[in-house]
Amino acid sequence: MPDTKPSALHGRIFDERRRGAYQGVVLPWKRTMEVCWSNIHHRMGRCVLTFVCIAVVVAFFASSLTVQILQGQLIRSADVHTQAVLERAGVFTHDEDSQQRELHQRLWLLSLSAFLCLVGITNTILMSVTERYREIGTLKCLGALDSFVVRLFLVEAIFVGVLGSLLGAGIGCCLGVLQTGAVLEFSILTVAGCTRAAGLGLLLAVALGTLLTTVAAVYPTYVAAKMKPVEAMRVEV
C-alpha cells in the first residue's frame, strides 16, 4: 500500500491529467459579484472619481435628451394654448438650418464630454490596475486565468458605471423637465408626458453611461489580464 504515504499522495502531480480526470480552474459568477462588490466597498475613494465622472456626463446627456423628447411631444400636441406658448418661445420660428446647427452643436458638445469622460475613467481604472499589480500577480499565482482578471475588473467597472449612470440620469432627467418648464410654461406639461419623456431619457442615458464605462474599462482590463504572476514577487512598492 505505498499510495497511502503522504509523500506518495503528493508526489504525482499530473496523475489527474494523465488519467483524464483533469478539471480546470473556475470562478463562479456569484463569487465574482461578491469580490467586485467588496472591492468597491473597501476602495470607495478610487471609485468615487469614476462615479462622479460618469454621473456628470450622463446627467448632461439625460437632460438634453429629456428636453428634446418633451419638446417633440409638445409640438405634436393639438392644444391651442400649448401651440401659442411654443410660438411665443420661438420653437417654431427657427428655420431648418438653425435647428440643424443647434443639433450639431449639442451632439458635438456631447461627444466631447463623452470622450473626456472616457479618458478620465480609463485613466482612473488604469491607476487602480497599476496599484493592484501585486494583487493581480497573486491571483494568478493562486490559479486565476486571464479571463478571471478581465471579469473581475470589467464587472467592477460596470457596477460603478451603472450606479453612476443611474444617479446622473436621475438628476439629468429632473433637470430636463425643469428646464423645459422654466423656458416654456409649467402648466402645459402633463405628468404622463413628463414621466414618459424622463423615463425614456433615463433608459437611454443609463445605457450610454454603462456603454461608456465598459468601453473605458477595456484597455486597463487588458493590461491587468496580461500581468505576469511573477509580479506578485516584486518587493518594491
Binding site: 503522504p6 508526489g11 499530473f14 480552474v25 473556475v26 497573486t138
Partner: protein
C-alpha cells in the same frame, strides 16, 4: 532509497533578459533535481539569479532555453489553463510581502484558491476555518489583513498556500519581513507541514535560520549553482562558508 522520487528537475536552464540594448544572463545553465518531500533552500546574494531560478522552479517564469520538469512534465509544454491549474491545485505560494487580498477577510483569502479549484462554498468555508485553526488563527476568521500583524498575515498566507493540498510549497523569503521570533514560528510551521503532509518545500532566502532546517541548500552565484550542500555537510562547513563568501 527507492522512496526517493524527483518532483522538480531543471535541465540546463538559461534565462536571458534584454535590458535596453544589453543582454543580461540571469541564469547560465542550471541543472537541479529536487526530490518529493524535500525541504530545499535556494541561497544567494541579490542579483545572483536566485529569484529567477526560484521562479522557474515554481512555474512562474519560462526559461530562454533548457527545460523545467515538474513531475516529469515539461512545463513549457503546458497550455495556459493547465499552468493555472498547476498553480492552483499543486503549488502553494508564500510571499515575502504576504500578498493577502486586502479587501478580503482571512477566511475569504484562504478559500479563494478553493473557489478557483471548484470546491463548493460550504466545503471551502469548513476547510478554510480548519486550516486557519491549524496555523493558530481560529479566532480571526473575519479579520482583514490591515487588522493583522505581519506574523498573522503570513500565517494566513500559509493557510492559503495549503488550501488545495499542494504537492509543492514555494516560499519566497517568507521570513524576510518578520522579526526573529515570528520568523522562527513561521519556519516551525513550514517544517511541521513537511513532516505531516510530505509537502516539498522550496524557499528562496537570505535567512540563516532557514538553512538550519533545510535538507539541502543550493547556493547560486552569478547565474550558476556554485554548490549544493546537504544539512550535515552544512553543519561541518559553517566556518568555511563565511570564509569563502568574502
Amino acid at each position: 532509497m527507492s522512496e526517493k522520487r524527483e518532483i522538480v528537475r531543471t535541465q540546463d536552464v538559461r534565462k536571458t533578459y534584454i535590458m535596453g540594448s544589453e543582454k543580461v544572463h540571469a541564469l547560465g545553465g542550471v541543472s537541479l533535481t529536487i526530490d518529493a518531500g524535500e525541504y530545499i533552500s535556494i541561497m544567494g546574494p541579490s542579483g545572483s539569479g536566485k529569484s529567477t531560478l526560484f521562479n522557474m522552479v515554481g512555474g512562474l517564469d519560462k526559461p530562454t532555453s533548457g527545460e523545467v520538469y515538474i513531475d516529469e512534465v515539461d512545463i513549457a509544454q503546458l497550455e495556459t489553463h493547465e499552468l493555472a491549474w498547476l498553480r492552483c491545485r499543486k503549488i502553494g505560494y508564500i510571499f515575502q510581502t504576504f500578498n493577502l487580498i486586502p479587501v478580503m477577510t482571512a477566511l475569504e483569502n484562504v478559500t479563494l484558491p478553493m473557489v478557483f479549484a471548484g470546491l463548493d462554498a460550504d466545503e471551502a468555508r469548513d476547510k478554510g476555518a480548519e486550516l486557519l485553526a491549524k496555523v493558530g488563527l481560529g479566532e480571526r476568521l473575519s479579520h482583514r489583513p490591515p487588522q493583522m500583524s505581519g506574523g498573522q498575515q503570513q500565517r494566513v498566507a500559509i493557510a492559503r498556500a495549503l488550501a488545495n493540498d499542494p504537492a509543492i510549497i514555494l516560499a519566497d523569503e517568507p521570513t524576510g519581513n518578520l522579526d526573529l521570533r515570528t520568523g522562527r514560528e513561521i519556519i516551525g510551521l513550514l517544517l511541521q507541514l513537511k513532516s505531516e503532509r510530505g509537502v516539498t518545500i522550496i524557499t528562496a532566502t537570505h535567512d540563516m535560520k532557514m538553512l538550519d532546517v533545510s535538507d539541502r541548500v543550493v547556493w547560486v552565484t552569478d547565474g550558476k549553482v556554485s554548490r549544493i550542500q546537504s544539512r550535515d555537510q552544512l553543519d561541518i562547513k559553517v566556518g568555511t562558508i563565511d570564509g569563502e563568501e568574502t
